[in-house]
Point group: C2
Chain length 184, copies 2
């Protein structure tokens, strides 16, 4: 009787040369991997997440109890301000930061206008001091605080515009941008 098959053959542990073989092996071994994972989960009460990108960039995943919860727990443990964990957040917020930057530019011109407005008021009040009976008392602190606000926002604008992704303001890291999406 002729052998129906030579049975399982030993293979060299390098990238498989035949693309057709590679595809079928990928499929078989991927399911084997997921099976091993699920066995480890049930036998030992382990929690496992597996993410696989195929040679064709398709994504497969296994998770017990689910991928997200395990990945989040993992990222929580490993998150430090400068770690690459933040890269995801950066990517998600980049558009938002640009938006914020634009809004800040708008706010700055608004505040510039307000400052000039305040200066006019100051001039007028000085010039007319004690001469106009109708002049109400005005809080002197307004202009001073406005100056501080303007300086602070200019600092913020400069830092947000930095390209190193580590903007600071007064020694405090700017942790995330915000998209305001308002038209003044």
């Amino acid at each position: 009787m002729t052998r129906k098959s030579r049975g399982r053959q030993k293979i060299e542990m390098t990238r498989m040369s035949k693309e057709s073989n590679l595809l079928v092996t990928f499929s078989k071994r991927r399911s084997g991997l997921f099976k091993k994972a699920s066995e480890l989960c049930t036998l030992c009460s382990a929690e496992i997440a597996i993410i696989v990108f195929s040679p064709g960039k398709k994504v497969f995943s296994f998770g017990h109890p689910c991928v997200e919860s395990i990945v989040n727990r993992y990222l929580m443990k490993n998150s430090t301000p400068s770690s690459s964990t933040l890269q995801l957040m950066e990517a998600h917020r980049n558009a938002s930061v640009r938006e914020l930057n634009m809004q800040l530019t708008n706010m700055l011109s608004q505040l510039e206008a307000e400052k000039q407005c305040g200066e006019e008021l100051s001039k007028i009040r000085k010039a007319s001091q004690g001469t106009c009976w109708w002049e109400a008392p005005i809080n002197e602190i307004g202009l001073q605080e406005l100056e501080q606000l303007k300086a602070a926002m200019e600092e913020l604008k400069k830092n947000v515009a930095n390209e190193d992704g580590e903007a600071h303001w007064g020694g405090v890291k700017l942790f995330a941008g915000c998209s305001w999406g308002v038209e003044f």
Copy 2:
């Protein structure tokens, strides 16, 4: 001759009852799982990340080329505004959002002061219109824009204070908070 061992025995696929056995099996099968994963990577040019939490909550991971890059790619693909992917970002930014809220409160009082300042100016200008030779021309647009800015910031403040984690402003999602950390 007496058998030295009965060899590998079939086991039931449920949580192992003997804790000592469970520990040994976890260790062996975990390394077996990681070996299978690395073989799949080399044979098929796959990219794999595995995160394992042991029964004792210790974390083990395998990644080729590295866990972070694969997890990030996975999260990118699966991120939708309402998905639990955002929970991580939420957690990272919650403190920052509180800070932002505080800053906005400060800015609002600043702007309130500026608005009153502008109103005083308006009054004064109206009252002294054409009567004071030293009055410089003042840009009327300042106050109007200030009103808009104030309304917009109040809206933002209200939305940032929302606890559903989905603040909006003018229909645009607030995608991330920002910690300014400035003292006015």
